[in-house]
């Protein structure tokens, strides 16, 4: 084809060449001719997202990760990953003349000398806490509704891996400022590595490049924190969401919802608008947390020195369960045949989390073992309809919550004027009793809830009014449309969307055709 033939001569011709949808059409044509995106792309725009609120939890995780990456990149511009010792003479006067590492100095500078630096630091820290928190809650929703069942076991596994990596990266990031508290955390991590039988000392020495603290650990933590783990996390999130698109969302049972469809809002424009708005709101909330709720004020803790310790040694919340487990473990060190196994460390800090995460990873398999259910499930369970699973989940939550609370034995003892010993024994007993109790109670409650008739019906509002005589009467309110009709029937995804909303009355007539092939639907 000669070039001149396709050269438009008039503007009209040029416009016609662009096609009915103008430049967008042209761009799509260009792309489609090369990589063939139109069919899949259209299909993606129509991907349906269920409207239930619990599907937002994963989004919180996703958007706090976005915030983490954005604020993290800012921080890398100023942070110096070096344990070289310097004497501080910066803007923060109380620390003037103190010996500290360059890492600590640069973090102090970020907090006081860099424009918006403190905001970025605190938002980054808050985002990390929210990130892990929302993953956990998201995971709970997946668990209690049975969304992990076939065919989604792989995505469950990816999710748990993400959780582990998020916790790990949180801990490593927390260590980077090299302040007194985080340095103590590194010391504890080193000792936990030492406690592993056979290979522990080698692992510790390889990671730290020699005996603790050495002078390479911050540099290593830095590259792991800003590059290696984030890349893995990004890859796994990609796989997580890719599988989600391929397998499509689960949904709660309801009118018009079956195992063979998904009901909700299409990606474009409804879901895109809502979720982008949600992303902005999450970012805004993290911003306000970072600006107003002080977190990790390292200038108060002072620089790390191996001989010093702060009284209030508290890790970030997601490490609390390890700290608590370490506290309530009796001091059972095993020594024989010239070797030592520090069970008092190895059991609570290595075996315990290993067990918890492995049970989580294996849960879809474990449950299948018990139920013999190898079917594909796209409809979610109501937690009360699966009393045993729900009870198991509640027991796990109770266990983790108990060990988490045990991480503040000293604070509790002080606050309630109890002996530390009493508090300690309380938690040692609670760690066994609480999960059993929580499991049994939950199981019972589920059974009871199944028996409540009409549990799915929406309650009619009651209007309580006071008569002039002072008597109160309760009258049921007028039924509202939603009371009879719990849910609307789903519609196929529209080919086009009309921009102007119709007044209510107008659309209730039989639809005239505006354009060939397009009809307005009557309801």
């Amino acid at each position: 084809m000669a070039l001149t033939d396709s050269q438009p001569r008039t503007r009209r011709e040029a416009r016609r060449k662009l096609g009915p949808y103008g430049r967008v059409q042209q761009a799509i044509n260009e792309l489609d001719e090369r990589v063939g995106i139109a069919k899949g792309g259209r299909s993606l725009l129509d991907k349906i997202f269920p409207d239930h609120w619990s599907f937002m939890l994963g989004e919180i995780a996703l958007y706090s990760f976005v915030v983490l990456v954005a604020t993290g990149i800012f921080l890398t511009l100023y942070y110096v990953p070096s344990s070289a010792q310097v004497v501080y003479h910066g803007v923060y006067k109380p620390l003037d003349g103190q010996r500290m590492s360059e890492a600590y100095e640069s973090t102090i500078d970020i907090s006081f000398a860099v424009r918006a630096g403190l905001l970025m630091r605190q938002v980054h820290h808050w985002a990390a806490d929210v990130f892990v928190g929302s993953i956990v809650v998201h995971m709970a929703r997946i668990f209690f509704t049975g969304a992990f069942r076939k065919p989604r076991e792989l995505n469950w596994t990816i999710g748990i891996t993400l959780l582990i990596l998020a916790i790990l990266n949180g801990f490593i990031g927390y260590s980077l400022p090299d302040d007194l508290i985080s340095g103590t955390g590194i010391r504890i991590a080193y000792s936990i590595l030492l406690s592993i039988p056979f290979v522990g000392t080698y692992l510790a020495f390889f990671l730290f490049g020699g005996a603790y603290p050495g002078h390479i650990i911050l540099e290593r933590f830095y590259i792991v924190h800003v590059l290696i783990l984030p890349l893995i996390i990004i890859g796994l999130i990609g796989a997580h969401l890719g599988l989600l698109v391929r397998q499509k969302h689960t949904q709660f049972p309801g009118r018009g919802r079956t195992e063979h469809n998904v009901v909700g809002s299409p990606l474009f424009p409804q879901f895109a608008a809502k979720t982008t708005g949600f992303m902005l709101m999450v970012t805004g909330v993290l911003g306000v947390l970072g600006g107003f709720a002080q977190i990790n004020p390292i200038w108060q803790f002072g620089p790390y020195e191996p001989t010093k310790i702060s009284y209030a040694v508290q890790p970030d919340w997601y490490m609390g369960f390890l700290d608590g487990a370490l506290r309530i473990m009796p001091s059972w060190e095993f020594t024989a045949w010239g070797h030592t196994i520090p069970w008092e460390v190895f059991l609570p800090a290595v075996v315990f989390p290993g067990l918890i995460f492995n049970i989580c990873l294996a849960w879809p398999m474990i449950e299948r073992r018990f139920t013999g259910d190898y079917e594909i499930h796209n409809l979610l369970d109501r937690p009360r309809d699966r009393p045993k699973r729900t009870a198991a989940g509640a027991a796990m939550i109770a266990l983790l919550f108990t060990v988490f609370a045990a991480s503040s034995t000293d604070v509790l003892a002080n606050y309630f004027h109890l002996s530390l010993n009493a508090v300690l024994w309380f938690f040692r007993i609670a760690v066994v009793v609480a999960p059993i109790l929580a499991g049994l109670v939950t199981w019972r409650v589920c059974i009871e809830m199944q028996r409540v008739p009409g549990a799915v019906q929406r309650k009619r509002a009651m209007i309580v009014s006071r008569t002039p005589e002072g008597e109160y009467v309760a009258v049921p309110a007028e039924p509202r449309p939603g009371d009879e009709q719990l849910e609307l029937e789903p519609e196929p995804v529209p080919l086009r969307i009309e921009l102007e909303p119709e007044p209510v009355g107008a659309s209730a007539t039989t639809a005239p055709t505006d354009e060939p092939g397009v009809r307005r639907v009557t309801r």
């Binding site: 406690s195 709101m281 909330v285 080919l495 307005r520």
Partner: protein
């Protein structure tokens, strides 16, 4: 070239009108891709949550517009605050107002001004036909059979090569990360005659401390490097009690009521930084292990499994404190290679 608008069969339109999601009558799925059909009024008045918005779209538009205006003011103010290098709170406040209101407006736009279904999409089974699966398995098994089985030697050689590379690669990736632990964990810098100095390098004289006092000490010359501090740190205490319980053979380790213990907690290595003077207990703030100073620093509470190793000290001719010897056992938390030596319980002598 794909057509911008699909030619449509009459039947489809009927589908869209009846639109029962359940059986998948709507959203015909000819040749696998979606061909959805309906054009809906923007918001459905029959959804109780949305009825108000459907009746008064202008009102919703006004609210969304207002949100956007506030949001614009917010982000602009954030820019201004940044230029002015304003306080963290101002930065955060403006950022919040900007992003939150833009986001809120956008979400409201999506929820109240865009057509709300619920819309339905069909789910197609992901699995392939049994034939396809078999074909794939066959391709793998049969081809491997043809290619590899006949040339076992070649396959073996290749596997050997890759295997060796795997092992060799572990050296740069793992082995060269750090030295072998060797005897490092068994050693400190304390040795026979080491002068006890404080944090600033000043030697400790027998008259320096009050009864009940406590000082962190190091072997002279090693007080300023972190790695040395981490293992050498020791607490020197001048105990009040006259009844010091010592282990057998430690009778002369504590001259003039001075005792010296490793400061590294035997639980997880935190510095044992708190001293409960009245009870004469050293307390580790990490997990509240308590060590009885009068009784060989034996752990009386908490998860620490062993006493803090004791440093034997003596007073030299000029009255300065010195170490008789190094520690008789590794300091700090337990590890696999640690032997049982020196683990005995303190006993009265």
């Amino acid at each position: 070239m794909s057509e911008p608008e699909e030619p449509r069969a009459a039947g489809d339109e009927d589908d869209s009108v009846t639109a029962g999601g359940a059986g998948g009558a709507g959203g015909g799925t000819r040749d696998g891709h979606r061909a959805a059909v309906a054009l809906l009024p923007a918001v459905r008045a029959d959804d109780p949550h949305l009825a108000d918005a459907a009746r008064h779209p202008r009102r919703v538009e006004a609210i969304v517009g207002l949100c956007f205006l506030v949001g614009i003011a917010g982000v602009a103010a954030f820019g201004g605050a940044f230029v002015e290098n304003a306080d963290t709170q101002v930065l955060a406040g403006t950022l919040f107002v900007g992003l939150f209101f833009l986001g809120f407006g956008l979400t409201a736009w999506g929820k109240y001004l865009m057509p709300q279904g619920p819309f339905v999409e069909e789910r197609h089974p992901l699995e392939s036909s049994a034939r396809d699966r078999q074909a794939m398995a066959a391709a793998l098994v049969e081809r491997t059979g043809i290619v590899v089985k006949r040339r076992k030697l070649l396959g073996g050689l290749l596997a050997t090569g890759l295997g060796i590379f795997g092992i060799v690669a572990a050296f740069p990736l793992l082995r060269s990360l750090g030295p072998k632990p060797g005897s490092t964990l068994f050693k400190t810098n304390w040795k026979k005659g080491s002068l006890l100095v404080d944090y600033y390098g000043k030697p400790v004289h027998r008259t320096d401390m009050q009864v009940g006092g406590l000082l962190t000490v190091f072997p002279e010359g090693k007080e300023s490097t972190l790695t040395a501090q981490a293992v050498d740190q020791a607490v020197l205490i001048r105990v009040q009690s006259t009844t010091l319980v010592t282990m057998k053979g430690r009778g002369d380790w504590s001259p003039d009521g001075y005792v010296c213990y490793s400061k590294v907690c035997t639980h997880l290595g935190c510095p044992v930084g708190l001293y409960e003077q009245e009870l004469e207990l050293l307390v580790c703030p990490c997990h509240q292990s308590m060590f009885d100073v009068r009784d060989g620093a034996f752990p009386v509470f908490g998860p620490a499994p062993r006493p803090l190793p004791q440093l034997p000290i003596y007073v030299d001719s000029e009255g300065f404190l010195r170490a008789r010897e190094g520690f008789d056992q590794p300091v700090g938390p337990g590890f696999w290679e640690r032997t049982t030596e020196g683990n005995g319980k303190a006993s009265a002598t």
